[in-house]
Every structure is written in C-alpha cells, then in structure tokens.
C-alpha cells in the first residue's frame, strides 16, 4: 500500500516523447528556408539538426503549476542546428508541444553571443569523414609501416580515439588522434601512432595532417614519416602480438550465485510515467541528452525539499608526454552525458529485481531513439541499521531500523569511461547524489619521459594521471524559495571554569555564519571551508532553530587547472567545492554543449554567475557542488577501474528541518524490551 498519490503535474519535467521529437523534427524540416538536414550523413558544410531536447519550464511557472495556482506551462523543445553552410550554431525554442507552431532563435538570449560553427560537437557525419580521411590520406600511404609496426590490414584495423580540446585557441579544430589496436578495451592498447588532424574547415577536402608522432618521434607530414621510415632513419616499432588483457571475459566459471535481494512482499515504490513514490518520498525525473539524469520537485511527506537535483558536467584533465593526452581536458556534457545512458544489465548494473525504465533521446541521429532499460529504480537493503540503540543500563531495551533506501540510477558509458550516477533517498529525510567511475582508463604508448605522467599498466602502456571533477546542481527550496546560506563549525575558546575560576580550559564552541553574497559563498577547494554548509529557511523548527538542509560533500579531488590557463574558463565551476548563486532561469547549467570545442571562449563560464556578486539573503538559492577524485592509474585499473573508492558526491541532510528524526515514523522500526 503506497502512501501518496502520483502527481500528474510531474509531466512538466518529463522528457520529450517519441512523438514529440518527431513533431519537432517534422516542424523544423518544414521550415524550408532554414535548409536543415536530419540525415546522419549530413556533411559539416551542411546544416544539421543535431539535438532536440526538452526546454525546461521557467521555475516560477512550474512552481505555480505544481502548486495548482496556474495552468500548465507551455511545453517547449530546444533544437540545436549546426549551420555548416553559414558558419554558426543556432539554438531554437520550438513550441507549443504537441503540434509546434513557432520557433524562436534563443542563441543570444541564452549565451549573450553568437556560437561559431567550430564550437560544435563532432557529429557521426564528421567522424565518418575523419575515418575516411585517415584511410585515404594516411593509412594508404603508410601501409608498410602500419603492417610492420602494427600488423595493420583491412581485416585488422586501427581504432582512433581523439583528444580534446582540439587546439590551443578559439576557432581551432585541430585534433590529435591516437591509434589503438582493434581489440576489446582498445583504450588500453595504444600503438604509438598519433596524428594531428586539421579539420578546421567544414569542407573536408581542405583537411590536412599537420603533424605526426610515431614511437616518440615527430614528423611534419605523412610523406616525411613514410620516407624516413623507408630510409630507416626512424626508431621503428616492431609488431608483437599483445595479450588480450583488455577483455572483460570472465577468466573463471561461475561458482555459486552471490547474495541476491528480493522483495518478499512486493515493491514499496511505484513509478508512473516520470513520477516516483517511495514511502514518504516523491519526485519527478528526466534524462537530458546533454547533462544526464535529474530529478525535480523532490518532496518528503509532500513538502518540497529540492526543486532540481541534476548532473551538470563531468570533466577530466590529463597529463602526458605524448601530444594527444598532453592537452586533454574532457568536458563530457559537450558530447552528451545522458546521450550515453544505455541499457542497464539486470543483476550487475542494478539488482535483478529493480524496475527498469526506457528513455528516448534525439541527438546526432536521424530519428528519436529508444534506450531500453536505461534507468533503474530499486529499493536496497544497505545491510546496516539506519539507527539503533541497545541499552543495558537502566531502561533495558533495543530499538533500531534497517537502512532501506531507494536508489535511482543511470550509467553512462562515454567512450572509455563509465560513470554510475545514483540519487539515493533515505528514510531519514536525506538525499544523496553520488557518482562512481568505472570502465577503461585512457592510456598512451610508453615512451621516454612517460613515467612522469603515470604508471605503466601493461606492455608499453602508460595509464595517464588525470583528475575527475563532477558538478551537481542542487536547487534546494527549504520551506519555499526564500532561503539563506549558513555555515556552522567549531572553534576552541578559552573559558574559565565556573566552579574553579582560576582555571581555564579550551572548550569547543559552535560558530555560525550567514554568508551574504555570491562571492562570499563561493567556497574554493584551495581554501579551508567551514565544516557544515546549510541552505536554510528563516522559518524555524519547534526548537526555534532555522530549518535547513546540510550539504555534506564527499570528494577526493585533485588540483584544479590553474586559472592562468585559457581553458579554465570552461571549467570554472570546479574551483569551488560549493558555490551558491541566486537562482535564474537563464543560469540553467554550469557548463554547455559548446564548452569542449570552444573551451577558450566557452558559451557558459560559470564564474560569471557569481561575478555580479548578488545578495543571497532571502533569495532562491542554488548550490553548485563539485566532487571527484585524483586518478593515478595503476595495474589494478586493468582491465577496468573498480567503483570502490573511485567516486564522490553530496549528501543533503535535514538539519533542524524536522523536529525529530522522521525515520521514527517509518514502518520499518523494530523495538523490544525485556520479556
């Protein structure tokens, strides 16, 4: 028996349906003056409809609708067109859905500037041309080298993995492409060949090879490499078969089955469309092709606590002596995090008995695609008490309760890496956002000087040192949208003992502060931050304390890129463990689709959100939380990085929000006294 009722109004946050994608696509194609193509084979020099995604409603309108005070906001889609023929990118809002009737160019409104065409993501159409280019302009010429060094043949290809950013300044689209053996886990089978492809022009006939690296040596052209190889004046790589260490095939047969979880009396949660009910919790959910999973209107006992909790960005900075990975700084939301939310495997990715939900996306494809079972939802017995006390003095008794919580999960496999994203809803009123990394590390071919940048992890393979920084948007609304940002900590104060006034002692005291402006509340990772961080209401609980939720950040981040680097602007959110902004509909995300490929002049620079240093007192506040870890790869990252210890996140915990621990009202409580 479920406690609450499903909320039809959650549909305001629902991803576009298959039908809606098709309506928008059809509508855009009807605008013949725009000259847009939706074909996968659209060339960079043509105009390509890259993305259709939900336009989130304005918060005010959504809240009024959720609270029954106004009609449903008009449903709108965002459309991204790469205008290769015109040299720019446009974002449109198409509305109303269903049956769109108008479109509006929102590029300037959203980004305050035009988006140059080279800020675009490389499409599958462009990849096809790139592979063709390598085949025709590089591989054909180097057949002897490739055969001798890599046992290359039409049946035994080399796979490409490109490094980003693509160059060193705005407008560049010059990509170091590294080559890997055509084996499973290619990412850890580098061969020692890297090619600098200049694909700045939208016309692929103008593409060039600007430089090559072979076995640690640089060459200005394919011809130079070929000639010197043939002359015998280069240090050659001689092909040697390599072990299949990247394979994930089990080396052992199954033994007994491990422990499984089951629901003896059925599930205690329910999913209807994009709305979830679980004991006292309810929330709406969605999956952005770009930023990934998100929940909205998270309520506990029907009181809204979180308006939006969403993944924003996953960023990594690499170190290497090889040119490809030397500059590598990945900004995954520019490729699409949610885009890679594929099917989850029952019994491995989520418990066998979990509920699996399909999602539909339209990104870099000729039609919307269904991603079967790409979200899982399950209640999990965490194998520990949520709380317990055994009393053997005085009132002998035992009271406790197991920690069963609801997990909402997606896993996005973005090339080599797989990020597991969890939002967890506890019966204590806490919500946790967690990420773990697994999958393959990026690697480079071992050469002189490599070991300054990581550890060798296989024959001729260096696992490159890198950082993982993840940004979450946490729009808590604590008893409404007017909130303040508080910090709490301790300090020792020397106090005279009242019963021995000539004696003093250092006693811990509570230190509370309310931070007044965005810049005060931008808490840098390289400074000491107060231990407790709270989004608080001016409303008080029964004991007179401001009701609040505390943000507890779990993180093992490495060093953030120095601000002296031009690329830093596209990742300025990572300066801060927590940064608080005044909510604006125009500041929807901390990163953008256009950050990776125009990293030097990104469409969104998070630090601008706090540059105006607005007041954050009694305002609608948003916390932008960064977590992550430093990754120094080691042999045990082969074949895959394990999740244990490789993660981070933020726990949102009630702190004087309630008058007592709400789990005392859980039906899972257990108690006994002496018989």
């Amino acid at each position: 028996p479920l406690r609450g009722k499903h909320n039809e109004r959650s549909g305001v946050f629902a991803d576009l349906t298959r039908e809606e994608y098709l309506q928008v696509q059809e509508y855009m194609l009807k605008q013949t003056d725009l000259d847009i193509s939706t074909k996968q084979t659209t060339k960079p020099s043509e105009n390509f409809l890259f993305l259709i995604d939900l336009s989130l409603p304005k918060k005010k309108e959504a809240l009024e609708y959720l609270d029954g005070k106004s009609p449903k906001p008009v449903r709108e889609a965002t459309v991204v067109v790469f205008y290769g023929a015109k040299g720019h990118i446009k974002e449109y809002v198409v509305s109303p859905l269903p049956n769109p009737k108008k479109y509006r160019d929102v590029t300037l409104e959203r980004y305050k500037k035009e988006l140059p065409i080279n800020a675009r993501t490389v499409t599958i159409g462009e990849y096809v041309l790139i592979f063709q280019f390598f085949q025709e302009k590089v591989f054909v010429k180097l057949d002897k080298l490739l055969k001798e060094s890599f046992n290359y043949s039409p049946k035994n290809n080399l796979n490409a993995f490109e490094q980003m950013p693509r160059g060193v300044q705005s407008g560049d689209r010059i990509t170091w492409v590294s080559f890997f053996r055509d084996m499973s886990g290619m990412y850890i089978h580098p061969v020692g060949l890297e090619v600098l492809l200049n694909h700045k022009s939208v016309n692929s006939s103008q593409w060039t090879v600007d430089r090559l690296l072979y076995n640690g040596q640089y060459f200005d052209s394919v011809d130079e490499l070929k000639q010197k190889y043939d002359d015998g004046t280069v240090k050659k790589i001689v092909y040697k078969e390599s072990l299949d260490y990247g394979s994930l095939k089990p080396r052992k047969k199954p033994l007994e089955l491990g422990p499984q979880q089951f629901y003896a009396e059925g599930k205690r949660y329910s999913i209807n469309k994009n709305h979830v009910l679980y004991l006292d919790w309810s929330f709406a959910f969605g999956m952005s092709s770009l930023t990934g999973m998100r929940v909205f209107d998270v309520r506990f006992k029907d009181q809204r606590i979180v308006y939006e909790l969403s993944v924003q960005e996953a960023m990594s900075v690499y170190g290497s002596v090889t040119p490809g990975m030397m500059l590598t700084k990945f900004l995954d939301s520019s490729i699409g995090i949610g885009r890679f939310g594929h099917e989850l495997v029952r019994g491995v990715d989520c418990p066998y008995e979990a509920t699996y939900v399909d999602t539909y996306r339209y990104i870099d494809a000729p039609a919307p695609i269904r991603f079967r079972n790409s979200i899982c939802v399950f209640e999990h017995n965490m194998g520990q008490p949520l709380r317990r006390h055994f009393s053997d003095f005085f009132h002998n008794s035992y009271g406790g309760m197991v920690n069963s919580a609801l997990v909402f999960r997606t896993i996005t496999a973005i090339g080599n890496y797989d990020y597991m994203w969890d939002f967890i809803f506890y019966q204590s009123g806490a919500v946790e956002a967690k990420v773990h990394a697994t999958g393959y590390i990026s690697s480079s071919y071992l050469q002189d000087g490599s070991l300054k940048y990581g550890h060798q992890v296989a024959e001729n393979v260096l696992g490159n040192i890198h950082t993982h920084f993840i940004n979450f948007k946490v729009d808590l609304d604590v008893m409404g949208v007017k909130n303040v940002f508080q910090t709490k900590d301790m300090e020792y104060v020397n106090v005279a003992l009242p019963w021995m006034p000539n004696r003093t002692a250092m006693i811990p005291q509570l230190v509370e502060k309310q931070l007044k402006t965005e810049q005060e509340a931008a808490l840098r990772y390289d400074t000491k931050t107060p231990r407790y961080l709270h989004i608080a209401s001016n409303m008080t609980n029964r004991w007179g304390h401001q009701r609040s939720y505390r943000l507890q950040v779990f993180s093992f981040t490495g060093e953030h890129l120095p601000e002296s680097e031009a690329e830093e602007k596209a990742m300025s959110w990572a300066r801060y463990k927590v940064a608080i902004t005044k909510h604006k509909d125009s500041e929807q995300t901390s990163s953008s689709l256009y950050s990776q490929n125009n990293i030097w002049d990104p469409a969104v620079d998070f630090s601008k959100y706090i540059e105006d240093n607005e007041s954050i007192e009694d305002e609608d506040l948003v916390a932008w939380v960064t977590a992550g870890f430093l990754h120094i790869p080691h042999a045990e990252d082969i074949p895959n990085t394990v999740t244990v210890g490789n993660g981070g996140g933020v726990l949102l915990r009630p702190h004087n929000y309630f008058d007592e621990d709400p789990s005392i009202h859980s039906p899972d409580g257990v108690y006994f006294g002496p018989g």
Copy 2:
C-alpha cells in the same frame, strides 16, 4: 565449494575461551599473597581482578609460527588488578595457557611507570557505592526539591551519567555527575541537576560533594542548596511531565517487509573457530574487551597483506556551558570498547541470513561472560557493479561484475552511543575499515549561554557540540614486513608543447616521495597531506612499479584539542590523519585502559612512539589512521543519530600490488558480446 582451507594456526590470535578465563582466574586466586578478589562487590579499597584478556603473541614469533617455521608461541593472558589496598594498578602476564604456572608483573615493562590507583576505570563495585552515596548523602536531604523539580520518588528515580575526565590534574577523581529522567533514552532527558562528587579516596566513607549545579546556579554543598531552595532564593525548576521522545518504539505499524537478501545457493564464506574464508580472502579475528574488534593475518590468494587491522580508540571532546560536559573528553577504550559488543539483532543490525558468532569476555565481572551473537559475518550485495563497461563503439560488448563483499561487523553500545564497526573485504583486493555512529547523543539541561555549544533538540534540552575521533591500527605487510612509506600526488608543471615549441601549457605531473622517518610521516590533520598514501614493498609488480597498498582515509573530523591542553597527551594520535611507526611489540596500542582516568599523565602517549623519529625505510611499518566527524547535534538526532553521513574510515586498496585487477578472476564476472 570454498577455495582455501581453514588455518588452524589462526588460533594464535583467538580470544581466550571460557575455560581459559576460568583457569587464569583460578590461578590468580590461588596466589593468596596477592590478596585478590574477583567479586563484583569488591570495594575500591580492596584488590580487584578487573580484566583477563588475551596477550597477543610477539609478532616475530607469530609470523614464524604462521609460516610454519617455529612452534606455536606460548599462549598468555594479560591480567589487570586494581590494588585499592596498595594504591596502584598492576598488569600481569599469566602463562602458559591452558594450565597457567607463572605470572609476571609487566607494568613497568609496558608503561615505563607505575600506574596510580586513580588511573583505574570505575568498576561496577564503585558505581554501586556511588549510587548509594547519592541516595544517602544527596537525595535524602533534597527530597523536597527533587519531588517538586523532578517528581522524584523511590519509584521514579533519577539516573546518573558521569562526565570524564574526573578533574583537572593527575590524581583527581572528582566527577561531575549529571542527572536524567528515568525514561528510555535518558541521555536526552537531562533534568538540570549536576553534582560534583569527590571520590578520590578508595574509602567511600571519605567521599564528599564538592559542588552542585541546579538550574544553572552553583552551590558549595548539599546543605546550601537545600537551605536556599527552602528559603526560596534559588530559581526553581517546576516539574513538568515530558514527552517520551526518547522512546525507540515504532510510531507506525509495519507495512510490507522491505527488501531482504538471500543466498540462493548457500554461503560463499566459511567460519571455523576464529578463522574466516571468503573467496580469495582469509583472516583470523578476535575481540579485545578494551579496544574492540580486530583481524589478523589477512590474506588474499594466500598472500598476507595485513598482519593486524584493529580498532584502537574512540574519543570525543564536548563543549558546554554546564560543568559536567564542559570538560568532557571520552576515551572509550579505557572503559572498554569491545566490552560492550552485545548481541546483534537479526535483520536490523545485520542481514537476517548473516552468520552470528559468540564472544566471551572477562572484564569487571566475577566470571567470564558469553556474549551471544556479538559478531556477524555476511556477504552483501552492495547493489552496484564493482566494475563494468559497455562498449557501443568498435568492439561492442558488455562486461561487468556485481559488487558482493564480505562484511565483518560488531556494534558496541558504550552508554549513550552505539558505534557500528565494519571491516569489508572486496573482490578487488581492497579491505575497508569503517565506523558509523548511532544511538543517543549526550545532552545537557538548557540554561543561559547554552546555545553557544549546540542546538536545542527538545524541551529544555541542548544537544552539545562534540567531535568523534576514531583510531585504527593498520599493520600492512606488503610482500613481507620490510616496507617503505610512499606518497603520490599531482602538480601542474609548465611544459612547452613539442609540436609548437613557442607554446606552453600547465600539465599535471605525478609527484612521488618516499618519507624517511617517523616524524616526516606523521601527517597532521591541520596541514595539507599528499593525496595518495602508500605502504610499499621494494618488490615490483610485472610493470616495474613498487607493489603497494594505498590508504584512502574517509573523514570529516572536527578540530583536534589544542596541544596546550594537558589532556591532549592522552589523545595525541588524533593529531594525525595517518602516522607511520616502525613496528614494536611494545607499541601495541595507541591508547590504554588508563588514559581516561589519568588523562593528564596517560600510560600511553602515542606521540612518544614517533618522538625517537626512527627510520621507516625498509622496516616493518604500522599505519595509525584517524577518522571521524564533527557532530553539531540537531533535532533529527532525536531520538537517535542516524548512521547515514555520520562515519569515517579507511580503505586499503591495492596499487600496483597486482599486475591487473584481481576481480577479473572472480567467478561473478558477466560478459556478453553481440549475439
């Protein structure tokens, strides 16, 4: 089908059996010249056999025995006698077991000084006298006040909770005792009466009341309080019934059962005596009455990784305006952490299907006591993959494996607080030591100035700010006992781009160091510590890197007590996130049974272990790890603190220890390619 065989030699770490305790007790009683009593009612002025516990074997002897190179070390017991009649405490080693034949005074050998009698733990015998003292010397005189203020009656008692340390200097035994309502969860029902009991003399007839606090006012004697109360010159507390908010009785009836875990094909671990086998893991275990749970000779694929992993101490420092909690600094191992490892509740404290193990202890009791089901062991499906990768480019395939791990758990309810201790054994070769806190917070009666020290959490109740610091001993032996301590981290270095020499970029580099001495390797919490900490061997893995285990500390500790305070010496281990010492059998623990009650001149001062600043290169190293959290109590700590977010620990992870992730050899691996 289990992989390994149980190791009979693990018995060298086994707790004393019931029979062994009895043999030792009987043997000590036979030494009539010692004049020892084992009766629970033994008076402080008499000689009391307080503790019998296993004496751990010397490491060298144990290793030789484990490795089959020498016979079993003589089994020995430690005996602690409180010589009230002589004014000191003695530790003896009694041997051999079974059938002891000799005893040896090891006090000076172990502590380098005599142990004064007032360093002793308050025994149940002394508590009986204390309660009697309060009854006869305080309550009888204050009957009117007690009745009017607290509705006190013989049927409605007040419960006592004492604060420690007991005074301000060595030799003191002057304890502030706070009174609480006789309700469940008394710890959160303070009444506003605190009494300073002077029980310095072992002769209880000489005990005195040195001061009283009633409703925020101080009085020099019971008579003064009584007279001023009767005169009406004190601000009175008028009794009001209080709600039963401390009760753990469920407020709701059970709904459906939550998710449960089951072993469809039986258990994949086995326990024989004190030895556990689980897939590739094996270890011995024990439970010290003082320090709590511990494991020894932890092996993976029969290679020893950890010689000892043990709980050492749980410490808290409180802040308050009231005298009792003002000075409060709890050092739980002086009362006994393992001592309070009581029965675990099936389905709440551990999963229903877990294996439960009894323990036997002899501490402050007339006979050994069996603690039924006080350890649980279970394999748990963590509800997430240990690793996984989905490949939609090139080699399409999926490989993954669920994270099932073995949990070894005890929960110790030391008065108000319950600490849940977990050692977790992962299939990736990692071992985790974790602690979570739950149970009741300590509280004080609200008075003027209280709010500087915490938050109000119930009617007239302040939840006092405090720290939790936990110390673990981690004696890793990485490929033998000769190890080094390495740190790894990253730093940005400005590097010229080889293909554009006039351009530079900041690139992350790996920074590795080997720390040479104990003082270099004492990593203070108030300084920046390198991100990766390793115990390493000089033996290398297949890729030429030193085989190592990394210590990853999870902690949210508050400020450590300033070193200016005399009490700090008894908790000097808490200065350091990680401190590395050269192993010595004489440095078995970081704290001691005598630290709490002689906190100003403690029997063990951990900082002395590193004072001699020994070399830690190619030595047997021990890592002392401190984790914990700052606790600012809030309404949701009522009735109990929840475990979620309130914990800490250390993860021991292989780092170039293996040549690849050992979980690839797990039978739990799953793989599929395109059909």
